[in-house]
């Protein structure tokens, strides 16, 4: 079956880089699990979505004035399945989104998240963790549209890659005209654990407004040798040391997940993969 374009970056670039769009087999998209939610004004809401079987999930949420939404999305599909998910969140005046995303399973996963900071003083904190091994393919596209005045968007992405994994991560901060006084921050930190990984990072910043403060940073490197040396000189073996360091890097995201049970599940899922023999 043919591949279908699932998501695109807001501004295209060189074709040879192969990062303009993400595609997925058409049959993955056949039966979406749809969820819509409206968070009324002045309230708080928690939503946790865990994908273990579904091919395609599509979530659309409106957060009312001065409300807060805690959204947790965890993807732990078995390694032989493909997966697609999309999330759209629209924030009204003073609304706050706290979002934690874990992308750890599936053979191929495509994910798109769009947060529209429509109301003045709205705020979004999105923390993402991804882990890729073997021949897995992870393709992420996060877009933060800042429309209201004094909005704040934070996108923090932590990832670890090993074996022959292929990963593309696109993160966009889009300061639209009128978003005066807004701030945006985007960071991706990638730890590459073994030699045949292919990693693409595309941090985009678009601005039609001068009174904004935008910053993005990407760092891609192997595991810190000094940390490894420290741990190994204390009697831990290579795999154990590596596992500890990677887990420590993931903690900022895992800490945002309220359910201890779910945290443990993710932890043991990743631990199992990190500890396996190469």
């Amino acid at each position: 079956m043919a591949e279908k374009i699932f998501s695109e970056i807001p501004m295209r670039t060189w074709h040879w880089l192969g990062v303009n769009e993400a595609g997925i087999e058409e049959n993955v998209l056949l039966n979406p699990v749809k969820k819509t939610l409206e968070v009324p004004a002045n309230s708080e809401n928690d939503l946790t979505v865990v994908y273990k079987e579904d091919n395609y999930g599509d979530i659309s949420i409106k957060v009312g004035e001065n409300s807060c939404l805690k959204l947790t999305q965890v993807q732990l599909l078995p390694v032989e399945k493909d997966h697609a998910n999309e999330v759209t969140v629209i924030l009204a005046k003073g609304a706050h989104l706290e979002m934690a995303v874990v992308e750890a399973g599936a053979k191929k996963t495509v994910s798109k998240v769009k947060v529209v900071l429509e109301g003045n003083n709205s705020k979004a904190d999105v923390s993402v963790l991804y882990f890729g091994d073997e021949k897995r393919h992870i393709d992420l596209n996060y877009v933060m549209e800042q429309k209201g005045r004094n909005t704040e968007a934070n996108l923090n992405v932590y990832g670890a890659l090993m074996d022959e994994c292929r990963k593309v991560c696109r993160g966009t901060l889009d300061f639209q005209r009128g978003s005066k006084g807004s701030k945006g921050y985007e960071k991706e930190q990638v730890t590459v654990l073994s030699g045949k990984v292919r990693n693409s990072s595309i941090p985009i910043m678009l601005s039609g407004e001068d009174d904004v403060d935008g910053h993005h940073a990407v760092s891609i490197g192997k595991i810190d040798e000094e940390k490894m040396f420290y741990l190994m000189s204390r009697g831990l073996d290579l795999k154990e040391s590596r596992r500890l360091i990677v887990e420590a890097a993931f903690n900022p995201v895992l800490d945002k997940i309220a359910s201890e049970e779910l945290r443990d599940e993710i932890d043991s899922y990743i631990k199992g993969r990190l500890g396996k023999n190469e």
Binding site: T13, L17, G18, K180, K196, N199, D213, G214, S219, I220
Partner: protein, 468 residues
């Protein structure tokens, strides 16, 4: 706190806008057909292989479509562009022999004066042909060749044939193909092994004819352990019709060699600047780009460095200033293709008065390039809310031994910084001026002196109170 805005004076363009009467002795027909290409080739007495190259490129041009990204190029109509304009002047080694009006143009641009004081060689191209070329005798004795491409093609045909459009093949993109078909003029530099050229060489490209295209080809070969600083300047007077610049620069930096390539591009605001620049750097070689983009209506310019040999290095420093009616899409691309290669990219963009500045880059680390290091830093300053500033970097990294960092910021002049300086007794105007000067300083210090002065004039600050 009431917010104030800084107004930055536009570039003083009067100097560049003085037009000469079009006294060309030959003009190709406008548009692009096989006949036009054959005609250009005949006018230029090309060898047979070059004619074939041109025709092949034309075929490629016709088969490729416009890029599906970047600025909108739909207003470019090749049917209206005259691809070859031969000025009424022969190539000369003395300014006295250059026709008065052409000489005056270069005088105003300060070229002969700079030649006396700070350059080891000068090339001056007017429309499609080079009208003046000189090089210091001492360099000639050391075997340095600095001449126009046409002379190179007849006198050093073997070298030209070996390198010409090998780094930027016509099928690279549509405008590379166009260049391959109708190229004319440009400079050829050959620095033999071990020769260090301490004083810069400069080529200046001036497009005088309205509705014309300039397609100069610059080919530089710096042999083992040699070094060179090459400066390229470009300008044109403003017309109401679209002019096109689709030049091509190919730089070959051999083992242990060093090349610094500085450009100040100040085309008029009716120019489409679709230029291709590429360098290949062998073991222990260094390429340093200094690139200032101030002019043109639309620019697409991304100098590319292929780090082909172990330890090859690239330093890229760029500044882009987009004002009213300008859409400047600039950046760099770096390809790490050997172990221990490193690159450092540092750019600044400023946009104002509705100008649109885009920083676009690509960093590619291949599997053959363990221990590659690359650091990219780009900062954008917006001076009002009707302009745009976009940053679009991409990194594609294979393997686990690379160390890659990218950082970008966007914003306006911060009130805190102004406040800090004012607390120390500096007036508000001066504080703003200091901040903008400080913003472009890392670039300004890389420029040759006369260009640094030009850029400082450009960043001539004037406080205009509150707008918007």
């Amino acid at each position: 706190m009431e917010k104030t805005k800084t107004y930055i004076e536009d570039i003083e363009r009067t100097l560049y806008d003085i037009k000469n009467e079009d006294r060309s002795v030959y003009k190709s027909q406008s548009g692009l057909t096989e006949d036009v290409v054959r005609d250009i080739s005949k006018q230029k007495n090309d060898p047979q292989w070059m004619l074939e190259h041109r025709l092949k490129s034309l075929e490629v041009y016709n088969s490729l479509s416009l890029p599906a990204w970047g600025p909108d190029l739909s207003e470019l109509n090749m049917d209206n562009i005259v691809t070859y304009v031969k000025p009424d002047a022969k190539l000369s080694g003395s300014w006295d022999e250059v026709p008065e009006d052409i000489k005056n143009t270069f005088d105003r641009l300060g070229i002969p004066e700079a030649e006396q004081t700070s350059l080891a060689g000068v090339g001056a191209q007017y429309d499609s042909e080079v009208v003046y070329h000189s090089i210091q005798e001492s360099l000639v004795k050391q075997g340095v060749i600095y001449t126009d491409m046409e002379t190179a093609l007849s006198e050093y045909e073997d070298i030209v044939k070996e390198y010409f459009m090998k780094l930027v093949p016509p099928k690279d993109h549509k405008f590379a193909a166009l260049h391959g078909a109708v190229w004319s003029g440009g400079s050829f530099v050959y620095v033999p092994e071990g020769v260090k050229v301490d004083i810069p060489l400069q080529s200046y490209f001036r497009l005088n004819a309205a509705g014309a295209g300039q397609f100069e080809h610059t080919l530089i070969i710096v042999e083992k352990n040699a070094s060179l600083h090459f400066i390229e300047g470009c300008s044109a007077p403003k017309y109401n019709v679209t002019n096109l610049h689709a030049g091509c620069v190919e730089l070959f930096v051999k083992e242990g060699a060093r090349l610094r390539y500085s450009t100040i591009e100040n085309w008029s605001r009716n120019m489409m600047n679709l230029n291709t620049k590429r360098a290949i750097v062998e073991k222990d070689g260094i390429i340093e780009w200094v690139s200032g983009s101030f002019g043109s209506h639309i620019s697409m310019l991304y100098p590319c460095s292929i780090l082909h040999g172990e330890n090859a290095r690239c330093e890229f420093t760029g500044v882009t200033f987009a004002s009213k009616g300008q859409e400047l899409d600039t950046g760099a691309s770096i390809i790490h293709a050997a172990p221990h290669t490193s690159a450092n990219v540092s750019t600044r963009t400023i946009s104002k008065a509705g100008g649109k500045a885009t920083y676009r880059s690509a960093v590619k680390v291949t599997r053959n390039a363990p221990f590659a290091k690359c650091s990219v830093n780009c900062e954008s300053l917006m001076l009002d809310d009707i302009s745009r500033s976009d940053t679009l970097p991409a990194m594609d990294i294979e393997g686990d031994e690379a160390d890659i960092g990218h950082e970008a910021t966007i914003g306006r002049i911060s009130d805190e910084a102004i406040f800090y300086l004012m607390c120390r007794g500096i007036s508000e105007d001066e504080a703003r001026a200091m901040i903008v000067r400080g913003f472009v300083e890392p670039i300004a210090k890389e420029l040759p002196l006369e260009y640094a002065v030009e850029m400082n004039n450009l960043v001539n600050i004037e406080l205009e109170g509150t707008i918007g």
